[in-house]
Amino acid sequence: MEKKSCYHCGNAVTVFNRIDYDDKEFCCNGCKTVYEIFNENDLSCYYEMQTSPGATPEDAQGKYDFLDKPEIVDKLLEFNEGFTSIISLYIPHIHCSSCIWILENLQKLNEGVYRVLVNFPEKKATITFNSEKTNLKEIVLLLTKIGYEPYISLSNYEENKKPVDRSLIYKIGVAFFSFGNVMMLSFPEYFNIDDVWMEQYRGFFRWLILLLSLPVFFYSASPYHISAWKGLRSKNYTIDIPMSLGVIVMFVRSTVDIIFNLGPGFFDSMTMLVFFMLLGKLFQQRTYNFLSFERDYKSYFPIAVTKLSDENKEVSVQVYDVQKGDRLLIRNQELIPVDAILISDRAFIDYSFVTGEAVPVEKKSGDKLFAGGKQMGDVVEVETINTVSQSYLTQLWSNDVFQKKADFKYKTITDKISHYFTPALLAISLLAFTGWAFVDWNIAFNVVTAILIVACPCALALTAPFTLGNAIRILGRKKFYLKNVTVVEQMVKVDTIVFDKTGTITTSANSVIQYTGVDLSKQQQEDIRNIIRGSNHPLSRKLYDFLSSKITLKPDSFEEIPGKGLIGIINGKQYKIGSAELLEINKEKVLNETSVHICIDKEYKGKFVFNNHYREGLTELFFKLKKNKYKIAILSGDNNGELKKLEKILPKGTEFVFNQKPDKKLEYIKNLQANNRNVMMVGDGLNDAGALAQSNVGVSVSENVNVFTPASDAILDAGEFRFLDRFLNYSKLSIKVIKMSYMLALTYNVIGITLSILNKMSPLVAAILMPISTFSIISFVTVMTNYYAKKTLSIKAKKRGT
């Protein structure tokens, strides 16, 4: 059968969900409705820029009622005066140019909207609207209706707008301005040293150069001076010390030279050096604006919940205002924000968020529900027994262990080198000084300053920022997003990898379901859905969600045979739904495949196949990691039901630990670290948050990186999970590039220092040597990191690997 996809969202169109409209196929009513809206408003070229750019709209019934409350809206609005209001909304679905286009044409769908500005990298839309003609709730509902549901959570409510720090850019701007002008003014000096013309203007040029260099020394280079001073006080000899020292010596000597008319000084080199240093700093600041590496429970919590007042009226109430004893309504897929007792008959609570347990737990009336659980199914009523701040999850989070990002005294590779470099440099200058002092005091001073200037570890200090900055860019392109450059270095040291089970090595609950066999009619689909409605088995729940037909009647008879399946009679027809055993048919058992067979009136129809439970390439990945001498462990909040299966597909020596609560997971990582192991934790949910924070490198795996991930050092797109070994290899190669580049830098330094010791270093030589070393280092590391990326991360390597 030809594979068809929804015109709006691109999801697969199957016989179960197909809707024909306007000669196009849609996967559900929601998608069709969005298409209709766009079509009616002349916005249909939304579909022309990108094929199937949309998202299925979610049902938002009652979800945004809290936006009726002015005090909540006030907190969310960025600007509100008169009738003009501005709101910035985070919209995870923004992913292509069609998205920008449709959102920026929102005023065609709602008259109250003045204009919308999309910030694509941050996935934010800033909406200016007339608060008389429309309101925030209407806008949010409209966005939700067209598939662009904004994400509003408790952290929006509390967030204080942090001013953006742009000082680095200013510093670079100033440095570039000075560098360019100083260079230009230095040129006459390079070539016309004894010219008559030059004699006349030399003073003017030199003083102007001095003047232009002042802001560079005092403003642009200030971060280096400050950090060098801090390093000296804490006896931590970082690379900033020789750098700051170099800049200071350059500045002082050049100033002295110019004031006493001894020479042109080294201001050209100094300004250039500072400029490139700052550029390196900017380069390694790769930020993924749409990702956040530091999230806490607040980004998961809703701003408000629905409370039942005494007269049984539904009112929205801010979560912090929830009192003990309040009755709350929790809708499908909503998070329970406080510990509570269930009042409704029964509820299915998905605790995967807190414990990692994948299967929803059934709760009966009177059972205690913990905060952090998600209700699956119908609306339930609960009575709170705590306030938000006293609930289990909040308490857990406020726990110090969870808060503290393990405070390693981490030494970067540059710091390590400079630890030897700085004392050696000082020793050499001292020796040179004493040597020349016997000959001539003036020369001795000249030599020492020249050494400090050329040895100023320009190349050395540029290597790491440019290599690692480039490395995280390349990894980012492969959908492995690192928080900062030090993560690359830490990845190299990892010798133990701990995986969470649910959601990390297994795919998430809503996996794709496929049907093979004789086509089922609409009626039959409906019947099946009605029968499985009564079952609590996880597969039934999944299948129930998958079939989109209506719920009409209750089956005449219904029987659930544990471990086998369901038998139900509806409309006089007997349905057998379940395993091959139940249906008494001989079917080959496919390893690692879960399927539900359908039989109607003793006639075999076909089967629903639940896609591979474990992630693709899991076994290969584990064997490769094993080969690379990593110690592997699986840490799960689940019970050990799958132990046998896992043992079969994973290499020997993999450690399995089950039934681990969040704090136990953290404890486990701590124990490993106490045994001098460098641990990489790969997890996904909030239940891993403590372990992710404790580990040396915390990687959170996410099916959709726009959706929320716990605080971590790196975010890995779930589709790239099987390439984890390559990312580890690549980080090793990056460090190799740094080491090679250090050799190159050292060569330059040896040449420069030798020239200086021999008193042959003139400003002109310095002006030539410095840019050569800078450019060659930058191009060397860029070429090498890209070369290794091609070698280890490219598609060719993929073919070889599999």
Partner: protein, 69 residues
């Protein structure tokens, strides 16, 4: 020859002016999002080109409906 003082002063002044405008525009957040404007600039044409025929069409439809009534 003293014109060189004047010329260099002017050139530095102009460069300083550029620096001032650069810092000012950074401060205003103009460079915070370097991607979206590059896409946005391509839209305008497309919308106009595409809207006109469809607008006409819908107007035609409207008149058609009115006529029917």
């Amino acid at each position: 020859m003293s014109v060189i003082y004047l010329l260099i002063s002017i050139s530095v002044f102009v460069a300083g002016l550029f620096l001032y405008f650069f810092i000012k525009s950074v401060k205003s957040g103009q460079f915070d999002d370097a991607y979206t404007p590059s896409v946005r600039v391509l839209f305008d044409d497309e919308v106009k080109k595409d809207l006109q025929p469809s607008q006409k069409k819908s107007k035609k439809e409207e008149t058609f409906k009115e006529n029917q009534i």
